[in-house]
Point group: C2
Chain length 388, copies 2
């Protein structure tokens, strides 16, 4: 384990000191799926072909093994008080020996609580949604909920219905939808489901029946623009995301408002989230070479900012000397763009946690707190004073 601090360790040979001999590794092998532990139930241990496994031991079997009734076993498993320590021990021993695991299907059937949280991830599997998903799963797990995942391609309403259907069929206690497009939201708000549904994404106006939660997009955009304004920029270009994405619209709105408050009139250019669209803007900027002063671009996400930087670099337009660039998201790579990218950071993990908190509150019949998560600004090397 020499990777340690990630330091680049130099090596010897020909034209470089101290080469490390690469250690050799062996060949791929055929799999082998082992079988269960519950020896008591007496089953075969097939190494390879894996014969159909025997029934898992039931509570009744554990009970018999421990010489008690199944109900007492149930009590132990569910941590009820009022079981003699000695009995409890006997039961726990039996459980361990038989490798017993509670049958959640049966439990769900009788308790009418599945302990399942459905998560529907719509569209892209980019950094943001993914981190949010991880945060959600983590928070759910801490509340002893298990996460059911369904992904859908963007724009496929049929798939969406199926996804909801899957969740409902599995009796999830709540559904979280990670989505940002307006059509998904519209569809969602027209939907009637008997469990709490919460959308992780910006709140679109005009859809009052929708519970949404997100990082405050408007505020994030304001943060970015305010930063540019403070640096003295007056010529600001807003590279927005596609209009069907609600967060794109909100970022644009926030940026425009912040500009307006400072008496600045920004130029709005539409991108599509991809680096390619940023790249195009970059070329355009480079072509209209304007020596009369500094320009600032607020790109609505880091990917577009990356394309923009790429184009500007190609055209030898100095960043941040001639053009300042601010991104949005703070993806892990942003710090290593050329130059490192000043960008708005969204704490997706925190968002995921809060979403679960909110949706669980709903499940418990309480009121959910849907306050947006505040963004922060990561100041780096792509922005500089306008009077540079």
């Amino acid at each position: 384990m020499l990777e340690g601090r990630g330091g680049a360790r130099a090596a010897e040979p020909p034209w470089w000191p101290g080469a490390v001999p690469a250690q050799s590794r062996r060949v791929l092998r055929y799999p082998e799926v082992l079988q269960g532990v519950h020896s008591g139930a007496g089953e075969h241990r097939g190494l390879n072909g894996m014969e159909k496994r025997n029934r898992r031991p039931s509570m009744a079997e554990v009970a018999q093994h421990a010489g008690v009734s199944h109900q007492t076993v149930s009590r132990v498993i569910n941590g009820f008080a009022g079981v003699r320590p000695q009995t409890k021990e006997r039961i726990e021993a039996a459980i361990a020996e038989l490798g017993y695991r509670r049958n959640n299907a049966a439990r769900t059937l009788v308790t009418r609580r599945s302990g399942l949280l459905g998560v529907i991830a719509a569209g892209s599997f980019l950094y943001g949604p993914t981190s949010t998903l991880a945060g959600i799963e983590e928070a759910a797990r801490h509340r002893s909920y298990t996460t059911l995942l369904a992904t859908i391609r963007e724009g496929a309403q049929q798939e969406f219905e199926n996804a909801i259907g899957v969740c409902l069929d599995r009796a999830v206690e709540a559904i979280v939808v990670i989505a940002a497009q307006e059509d998904v939201m519209r569809y969602l708000s027209s939907l009637s489901v008997d469990v709490p549904v919460i959308v992780v994404g910006p709140d679109p106006h005009e859809l009052p029946s929708l519970a949404t939660m997100s990082v405050d997009q408007n505020e994030g955009a304001r943060l970015a623009v305010r930063h540019l304004l403070e640096l003295g920029h007056r010529r600001i270009v807003l590279l927005s995301g596609p209009e069907r994405w609600v967060d794109a619209a909100q970022r644009t709105k926030g940026a425009v408002e912040e500009c307006a408050a400072a008496g600045v009139d920004p130029v709005v250019v539409h991108g599509d989230w991809t680096p390619a669209s940023g790249y195009r803007l970059g070329r355009e900027i480079a072509e209209r070479a304007e020596p009369e002063g500094a320009l600032a671009v607020f790109a609505a996400n880091d990917a577009m900012a990356l394309g923009l930087l790429s184009a500007l670099h190609e055209a030898r337009v100095e960043v941040p000397g001639r053009v300042s660039v601010v991104g949005f998201d703070d993806i892990p790579e942003a710090e290593f763009f050329t130059p490192s990218l000043t960008t708005v950071r969204q704490d997706f993990t925190e968002l995921g946690h809060r979403v679960v908190e909110a949706v669980m509150a709903e499940v418990d019949g309480q009121e959910a707190d849907l306050t947006p998560v505040p963004p922060t600004l990561s100041r780096r090397g792509s922005t500089a004073s306008a009077c540079g």
Copy 2:
């Protein structure tokens, strides 16, 4: 929806033509969770506080509604032949009217098949694992399986055991583990579970009881190095990943072997997957300015390649003029690095699909095909002839 082709549309005002007025949006609103549709069962429709929902209608109720026995309803739902069309229609009408949904808990209880696939995502939530996850979910869905997600922080064995436990408690029919670190693998191979387990990740030697599947890392590395050799490079630096990651080791091995076959003696430098470690190597390369010829670096992932490019750019070392760089992964951003990155592409979606195929074969008692998925090379702007 003007984003369309993502073209950067220019605007008017002060110093730029044709600015687009940002449309205004409204305020956030309080949530509102709607209630079920099954009107027949007669329940309350709470708008906000959401009172405990009434029982969902059961098969028996549907049967009664349609004037048949519940078994006939079951037959219709499960698509059995031998139900008179007329009866079927009546039942389907009743189902629609009551908003009936099958209770999977009950179904699982009696059939002993949960239709659940457990996916454990270990460690990072980067592009690769995430795309694979999406592929797995998609493939599972197409086979009418539902995906259960559990994430764990790397190195946390306790969490790992819990994750397996969660899956087993939910009676998943198979488990897919997305992991690459040796310790996770070692733990896994010592584990005894009564359902098929397959690891998505490179196959470590010495753990014969482990079924693994991945993109062919060795071949990918060879592809990258072969490309460099074909360009005439003889001075090759391998920026590897951390040693505990099996794929890091395999990439290094493949690269070393390919070099050896060409009589080239590479320098191996250890990185840690982060752009930072690539950056460090970049500085080191820049400092030891060697005018005597071109250098080539094979970075074991795109993130490190990014850091490397960043450092080289900063130090005004020309890429690919003085140094050629190849990455690994082909993350979406790679195309827009400066310069665009030549890198090894892994088809994670395909990988996900194949993994599900394999694990489902196991479930059906058939033999799984664990052939690794072949990688391809994306040739871009970061590599050039050594004799440039």
